[in-house]
């Protein structure tokens, strides 16, 4: 059984300067309750690892605007002007990664692999300073695993073992990130007794999850 915590309790171990993976793609599948708790706690000098910063002035962007994020690793920051300004001023160190490479680096960290060999980025600025390996006559870029101290992910439904189900495209980066951090918090809109979540419909096997947070379902029409 995994502990069911409030967002404040779940993030208790987070300290200034830690690295946090945040699941979600734009506004889909975002663990907003934990992001709010991180903001309220006043944590700073954070490394945020997330595909994008989303459009809304909630979640990651709220932390960025408050000057709490010193480093961001992701694939896209063009959804709002704030990240552009922070990049220009040097306030946030930004590392941009091709989206497929990003998720596979995270997955590699969680899957015990020493890296990923990908053709993506060969012959571009992304390849600068990286090792190129030839396998069976074909060239690949060596991309290293990407891990974090914490991951916060979102599920629609979880059981008390920590198994989780995520609907539709809200699976996105949540699945790989749940594998790749020291301590993983899963927000779920519904938490049920073991046996009440169909094992055939498990998106996140329980082994990856350290704590559960019960959150409200978004209003109808939301994600």
């Amino acid at each position: 059984m995994k502990p069911i915590k409030t967002p404040q309790q779940a993030i208790e171990k987070m300290k200034d300067g830690c690295s946090i993976m945040v699941g979600g793609f734009i506004s889909c599948g975002r663990p907003l309750a934990c992001l709010d708790a991180i903001y309220e706690k006043g944590l700073k000098n954070l490394t945020i690892i997330s595909n994008d910063t989303s459009k809304e002035e909630t979640g990651i962007i709220k932390l960025v605007m408050a000057g709490r994020v010193s480093r961001f690793i992701g694939s896209y920051i063009g959804m709002n002007r704030i990240m552009g300004e922070k990049m220009k001023s040097g306030e946030v160190k930004i590392e941009l990664v091709p989206q497929g490479t990003f998720v596979e680096r995270v997955r590699a960290a969680g899957a015990g692999l020493g890296g990923v060999l990908t053709p993506t980025g060969l012959g571009t600025a992304i390849a600068e300073g990286k090792e190129v390996l030839t396998v069976d006559g074909k060239k690949y870029l060596l991309e290293k695993p990407l891990k974090a101290d914490f991951a916060i992910v979102k599920a629609n439904k979880a059981d008390k073992y920590g198994n989780g189900f995520s609907a539709g495209s809200s699976k996105n980066f949540n699945v790989a990130m749940a594998m790749a951090a020291e301590y993983v918090i899963m927000e779920a809109e519904e938490i049920v007794e073991p046996g009440q979540l169909d094992p055939e419909k498990v998106t996140f096997p329980c082994v990856f999850i350290d704590a559960l947070v019960q959150v409200a379902k978004p209003a109808k029409g939301g994600k």
Binding site: P98, Q99, V103, G123, T124, G168, N172
Partner: protein, 193 residues
């Protein structure tokens, strides 16, 4: 560019997509292709955030989504571009000195998809050719573009160079050549669209 010109590009690309193909559409002109997909042709759309097909289909996480893209399981990717050159090199993610919005899926899509189709205006806002001899902007991927469709021309990238297969109904061969910064090999039977 005027809306009817953007729609013309999308319409011509839709005609090119074979039955039962799996297609990923980028933002901008590529998205307009959906308006021209014929019913019953079985074309399925893939989206990098994790699904294939709408209203029936399948959904998956980002790792699977990019395995589909990078692993060569995607038949077509339709992307916008800043520059494309004679070798099929593509530049579409950044202009040095300006804000870099990010890379997103563009590098994986152009490396992984079986066919890379560029949907773009023939010239830039300043009237400069976007089809050039050699890309000057940072590359998204080298030598991956297969087809370029603009409001003026339908161009196939081949080992011999850029083959101009069709020109728009309201243009002339001279106008197309004048607005292109690369060498064009004019097809023996030049079509119209």
């Amino acid at each position: 560019m005027e809306d009817n010109m953007r729609l013309r590009i999308a319409k011509r690309i839709a005609k090119e997509l074979p039955e039962n193909s799996i297609v990923n559409l980028g933002i901008g002109i590529p998205t307009l292709v959906t308006q021209f997909l014929p019913e019953g042709k079985g074309i399925l759309l893939h989206s990098e955030n994790g699904f294939i097909g709408l209203g029936g289909g399948c959904c998956f996480d980002s790792s699977m989504s990019f395995a589909i893209i990078r692993g060569g399981h995607l038949d077509y990717t339709i992307l916008g571009a800043l520059e494309v050159d004679e070798e099929g090199n593509l530049a579409n993610y950044t202009i040095p000195g300006k804000f870099i919005p990010g890379i997103g899926g563009a590098m994986d899509l152009s490396v992984g998809a079986k066919n890379v189709v560029i949907a773009m205006e023939h010239v830039s806002k300043h009237g400069e050719p976007k089809i050039v001899k050699k890309c000057s902007l940072p590359l998204t991927a080298p030598k991956q573009v297969n087809l370029i469709v603009t409001e003026l021309a339908f161009i196939r990238v081949t080992d011999a160079g850029l083959v101009l297969e069709e020109i728009a109904e309201d243009t002339t061969l001279e106008e197309v050549i004048k607005n292109t910064g690369a060498k064009l090999i004019v097809a023996e039977k030049l079509g119209r669209f």
